[in-house]
Symmetry: C2
Subunit: 334 residues, 2 copies
C-alpha cells in the first residue's frame, strides 16, 4: 500500500477538487490509501461515496493562500492542515504529501518538517512545463531559492535526471542551462560558471544553453536555472498562455462567422488547451527533501489533484529519493 497525505484545504477552490481528485485516484489505483487533513464538515460535503481506503483527520486550521510569514505561523501553531499532513509523513504514517497550498509556505514547511536529505545542499521547486511534443520538461529551480550557487545545479540536475528516467520514462534525458544566448560564455557570472561545471559533470547529459524562446519547442528534458530566473520563465509562459487564450476568445466572438467557426473547432480547441495544461502531467515536485512532496497548482481542479496524487504514488513506488540519496552520497552513477 502507498499512503498519501493530502492537504484538504490547500488551493484556491479547496476542498472540493481535492476530495473529488482523491476519490478518482482511489478508484483507479487499488494499492493506494489517502488521508485528507482538513475541516471534516467541509470535506464530507463532497464525499459522494464511501471508501475504506480514505480517511479524514480533522483540523479547522488552514493556511490562507496569501500567507506572508509561514515560518512564524508554524512556530506558533502546528495544527494547520498542511503542517499535519507533512508531520504524518515525517512520522512515517504516510509516504508522501500532496498539496495545492501556497508555494512559499509549502517550501518552507517542507524544509522545517520533512527536512533536506543530507546529501543535498539545496531544495528546489521543479514543475513540469508543457511542451509541443507533449512529453513535459522539468524546470528547476522555479522559485525555492532566489540565489543559488552554480554547483547546486549539479545535484539538482541529478535529482531531476532520476525523475525524468524513472517517472517520465525518458532515455538519457538531455539537460540544458537556461540562458540569454546559445554559446558558452553567454550570461551572467552564474551562467558562465554553471556552464563549465555542467560540461564536466559526467552524471548529466548536458547539451548546452537553452534560450527561453526555445523552451516550448525543445527536445531538452531538464532545464536548469536559479530560482529567480526559473520563476520568471515559468510565470511568463503561464501568463502568455493565459493572455493569448483571452485574445483568441475575444476574436472568436467578434463576428457571426467566427462564432460558427469557433463551434466547429471546439474539439480542436479542447486538445489545444490540454496540450498547454500542466495539470495533465502533474504538480511541481519539491526536490531535495527527505520525502516526496508534490505541490499542485493553486488553481488546481480535480483532474490536476488526481494527477498530482498519481505522480506522488509513482515516485514512492520507484523509490526516487532512496536512489538520489545513494547516488549523491556514494558519488556513483549506474
Amino acid at each position: 500500500m502507498i499512503k498519501i497525505a493530502l492537504d484538504g484545504m490547500g488551493g484556491d477552490f479547496a476542498p472540493k477538487p481535492v476530495v473529488i481528485g482523491a476519490l478518482q485516484a482511489l478508484k483507479k489505483y487499488k494499492n493506494l490509501e489517502i488521508t485528507i487533513y482538513g475541516d471534516q464538515n467541509e470535506i464530507k460535503k463532497y464525499l459522494t461515496e464511501e471508501n475504506e481506503r480514505l480517511k479524514i483527520v480533522h483540523t479547522d486550521k488552514f493556511l490562507d493562500m496569501g500567507i506572508k510569514d509561514p515560518i512564524s505561523t508554524y512556530r506558533k501553531d502546528k495544527n494547520y492542515s498542511l503542517f499535519l499532513a507533512m508531520q504524518s509523513v515525517k512520522d512515517k504514517i504516510n509516504d508522501a504529501v500532496v498539496t495545492a497550498g501556497p508555494t512559499q509556505a509549502v517550501v518552507v514547511a517542507g524544509h522545517l518538517i520533512l527536512k533536506r536529505i543530507s546529501s543535498m545542499k539545496r531544495v528546489a521547486l521543479a514543475p513540469i512545463l508543457p511542451s509541443l511534443d507533449g512529453t513535459g520538461k522539468i524546470l528547476l529551480d522555479a522559485g525555492a531559492n532566489v540565489d543559488l550557487k552554480p554547483e547546486h545545479l549539479i545535484e539538482l540536475g541529478i535529482f531531476a535526471r532520476i525523475i525524468s528516467e524513472k517517472i517520465m520514462k525518458k532515455v538519457n534525458p538531455k539537460v540544458a542551462l537556461v540562458n540569454i544566448g546559445s554559446e558558452e560564455g553567454k550570461g551572467r557570472e552564474f551562467e558562465i560558471e554553471a556552464y563549465k561545471l555542467l560540461k564536466d559533470a559526467s552524471e548529466l547529459n548536458f547539451v548546452g544553453n537553452i534560450e527561453p524562446k526555445d523552451v516550448f519547442i525543445t527536445d531538452v528534458d531538464i532545464l536548469l536555472t536559479d530560482g529567480f530566473t526559473g520563476n520568471i520563465l515559468m510565470k511568463s509562459m503561464e501568463g502568455t498562455t493565459y493572455g493569448l487564450g483571452k485574445v483568441l476568445k475575444r476574436e472568436l466572438k467578434s463576428s457571426l462567422k467566427s462564432k460558427i467557426g469557433g463551434l466547429l473547432i471546439k474539439g480542436a480547441l479542447k486538445k489545444y488547451k490540454a496540450a498547454l495544461d500542466s495539470s495533465e502531467i502533474g504538480g511541481a515536485l519539491v526536490i531535495g527533501l527527505s520525502k516526496i512532496l508534490i505541490k499542485a497548482h493553486g488553481a488546481s481542479d480535480d483532474y490536476a489533484i488526481f494527477n498530482a496524487i498519481r505522480q506522488a504514488k509513482e515516485m514512492v513506488e520507484n523509490k526516487v529519493i532512496e536512489m538520489v540519496d545513494e547516488i549523491l552520497s556514494k558519488k556513483v552513477w549506474n
Copy 2:
C-alpha cells in the same frame, strides 16, 4: 525633413523587407528622407519605384546575424553597412538609425559610434511588448546589460516615461518593477533595493512589483528590470506565442470539421495574430544613446521595418533625446 539612416543589410531576410518598408514609409510621410546603407545591386532588385527622397550608399560589407565579436570587427573595419549608417548619424548627415541587425552588435556599435548621452550611465534595450489592451508596454532593460545596478533603473525609467508620454501618448504612465512576487521585499537584493529607490523617485509613477504572469494583461506602461531578466521575460513570451501558434495550427488540421472551422475563423485568427505582433508597434529603442537608434526584430518583414522607421521619425520629431538630457542633467521634471 527627418533623415533616417537605414541599415539595408540587417535582418534575416535583408535587404528585401528593408527596401519595401522604406518605400512604404516614404509614400506615407512626405517629410521623410531615407538613406539605405548596403549592397546597391541587391537593394536595387527590390526598388520597384524611383523616389527622390531615397538614396543608397553602397558597401559590400555587412554583419552576419550570428556575429560573435562586434567590437573587434568594428576596430578592424568600419565599412560595414550598420557602422556606416550609424556614423552618418554621428556626423549629423542623418537624424536616426534603423536596423534589423544582430542585437549585440547593434548595442555595441551604438556605444562605440553614437555614444551615451552624458547624463545617462547605462544604455538599455527597450522593446515594446504586445498586450491585451493593444497599447503596448515598454520593457527595459531587455538585454543590453547582464548586470545593472538598482539606481540605473531610475534614469532608464525616466527615458521610458518620455517615450511613453510623447510617442505612445500615455498620460502619467505607470511604472512597475518585474519581480517574482507582488509585495515589497520580494526578489533578490537587486529587486529589494530597486523597489526602495523607485518608491522614492518623484519623477516616476511607480505602482509596485509586477509578476511575469500579469505582463500581458496589465495596465502598467513601463516594466523595469535588469538585462538578463528582461531578456528571459521577452524571449519566454515570444517563444510561448510561437509555440502556441504551432499547437493551434496542428489542432486545426486534425479533422475535417476543425479544418472548415479554421477557414471560418481566418479573419479572427488574423486579428489574433496582429494583437500579438510587436511589429505592429515598432522595434526596440536603444535607450541612453545620444541619437535615436531603433533595433527592429531580426525576422522583420516590410511592415515591421515600416513601423520601426515611423517610430524613429516620431522620436526625432518629438525631440525625445533632448528632453531626456535636459531632465536628467538639470534634475528637473515638468
